[in-house]
């Protein structure tokens, strides 16, 4: 078969697929961060830890209760959402009147506590999580081999991302959310209970992280540090896409995953820093991010 710039197609497409998978996780996580930031004005540093908790809940469901992947797919995000709602009600909501920095510090501290606690009980080594039977095996596409589970992760995260985008940009509930993001006082003056909306938004945003955790469990191992490793890149994605932009988070997440994959093929030494190089360039040229609006 033909080579692209001296690279065999199997290698190229293999790395592009890996990039697309990473990009799916970037998209899901940065989408949650964007939704939360838009409504709460809080940069949720606990996002990576909640992603990790999502994966651990799946692992615990399997190993303690014998409930498999499909159960976890529904239950884990729910558990993480409940954790998020409790955090918002008892702690975060007390900080809205203060500088945004306090919300960031609180969630950063929470992330350290969660990760420390899981490390204490489960150690740093990863726990394997099996691929569900239904998604074992793969497809030979001719130019590459596609493992079924990886295909599923890409499709599932695309559906969730664009479903969320649709719900926010095209529905009545989404109109409340957009309006409350813009002018919460006036929305409240129309008789809508904005504090409840804020709590629900936080719960939904972190549920997306929990869902990403379950999707990740069979690919990466379930480990207390899995969130820390990922979240740094995700924050760079959010900065590049533009704080609070829904579509920006999705498109930038997928795009940067692919870019990382391409860099691995053509210049592997740079693959770990390419996202941060892009971030620096974007910040210089368009400080509000590619999809962000200057405020």
């Amino acid at each position: 078969m033909f080579d692209v710039l001296g690279v065999p197609p199997q290698v190229l497409f293999g790395q592009l697929l890996l990039g697309l998978i990473n990009g799916s996780f970037y998209a899901l996580l940065s989408l949650g961060l964007a939704v939360i930031f838009g409504m709460l004005n809080v940069i949720n540093f606990a996002h990576g830890a909640l992603y990790m908790i999502g994966a651990f809940v799946a692992w615990l469901l399997l190993n303690k209760l014998g409930l498999g992947y499909w159960w976890a797919l529904g239950l884990s995000p729910l558990v993480v959402a409940v954790v998020g709602v409790l955090l918002e009600k008892t702690m975060l909501s007390r900080l809205y009147k203060l500088d945004h920095l306090y919300g960031l510090l609180l969630t950063f501290g929470l992330a350290l506590i969660f990760e420390g606690a899981f490390r204490h009980f489960y150690g740093v080594s990863g726990q394997p999580y099996p691929i569900p039977d239904l998604l074992k095996g793969g497809q030979n596409l001719g130019f590459m081999f596609l493992p079924n589970y990886r295909g599923w992760v890409v499709v599932a995260s695309l559906i969730v991302c664009f479903g969320t985008w649709f719900a926010i940009e095209r529905t009545r509930l989404g109109a409340y959310l957009r309006a409350a993001t813009e002018n919460p006082v006036l929305v409240q003056a129309f008789g809508i209970n904005v504090p409840v909306m804020i709590t629900a938004t936080y719960g939904f945003g972190v549920a997306l992280a929990g869902l990403a955790g379950v999707l990740a469990a069979p690919i990466y191992q379930v480990s207390p540090l899995m969130g820390t490793n990922l979240i740094i890149v995700v924050f760079a994605v959010v900065v590049i896409g533009g704080m609070g932009s829904i579509l920006g988070a999705i498109v930038t997440g997928l795009g940067l995953g692919l870019l990382e994959g391409l860099t691995k093929v053509f210049y592997p030494e740079a693959s770990n820093i390419v996202v941060f190089v892009v971030m620096a360039i974007v910040l210089l040229i368009k400080p509000a991010g590619l999809f962000g609006r200057e405020r």
């Binding site: 009545r172 109109a175 002018n183 929305v187 003056a189 129309f190 008789g191 809508i192």
Partner: protein, 248 residues
């Protein structure tokens, strides 16, 4: 209004003689004390204005009624119910619609979304076609971004969206501010139509020539409290006094 009718309305309202009754209202933004004992009454079906110089406390009075002010003391009764201490999002649900001075059109919402955003709180609100009939300028603009409308159209949208909700008391903060005379005329026609439909309206106005064509009574505010009340039919006799109050 004949006495018999008046009494009947009062009985229907339960307590007090006014639909909205504000007594000795004090309001604060953080540490700063901006309302110093506002008292006023608005009867069902009336159009009442708040006149006063810049900074007199007109907007603050409306914000205090809506509960969007840090701290309030005194009494605000709407159809007999005390609003001070009530949860903020419950106040509009009693049937009070607020059109803020800055209009508050959402830029991330289309005209249609802006129009249908405020939830319906009572039966008997106007339908969207009726609102378009009142403000023909908005017709056909449904998918436009809210803030792409002209200032006058945004004002019509800000008023229109409240009419759907079934609110029977409307707080209108300077609806003519910064608008061209032809647009002011259109807004005037609309406000008169609303009055004819039975809406009760509290109107903040700097432009009292406009106010005089619509209102039943005028409250004059100075330094955070009401200093005078002038019925519209005695406006002519009180013109000198009013000029002094408003510094025009």
């Amino acid at each position: 209004m004949p006495d018999a009718v008046m009494t009947k309305t009062n009985a229907a309202q339960g307590a007090g003689s006014a639909m909205l009754e504000v007594r000795d209202l004090h309001g604060f933004y953080g540490e700063s004390h901006v309302l110093h004992g506002v008292s006023l009454d608005v009867r069902q079906g009336e159009v009442v204005t708040l006149l006063g110089r810049n900074g007199a406390g007109k907007t603050s009075t409306m914000r205090a009624i809506m509960g969007i002010m840090g701290k309030r003391t005194g009494s605000i009764r709407f159809q007999g119910q005390q609003l001070i201490g009530m949860a903020q999002h419950k106040i509009p649900r009693l049937g009070i619609g607020y059109v803020p001075e800055e209009r508050g059109i959402f830029s991330s919402l289309s005209v249609d979304e802006n129009l249908t955003l405020p939830p319906v709180v009572k039966p008997g609100g106007m339908t969207v076609p009726q609102i378009y009939e009142l403000f023909p300028n908005l017709q056909g603009r449904g998918s436009t971004q809210g803030t792409r409308l002209s200032g006058g159209e945004q004002q019509m949208l800000a008023i229109g969206r409240i009419l759907r909700t079934g609110a029977n008391l409307i707080l209108l903060d300077e609806p003519t501010e910064g608008l061209a005379p032809v647009i002011i005329e259109q807004i005037g026609v609309a406000v008169r139509a609303l009055k004819a439909r039975g809406f009760t309206i509290v109107l903040v106005e700097q432009n009292f020539r406009f106010a005089a064509t619509i209102a039943d009574r005028h409250y004059v505010m100075e330094e955070g409290h009401v200093v005078d009340m002038i019925p519209n039919d005695q406006l002519a006799q009180n013109m000198d006094k009013l000029h002094t109050y408003l510094g025009v």
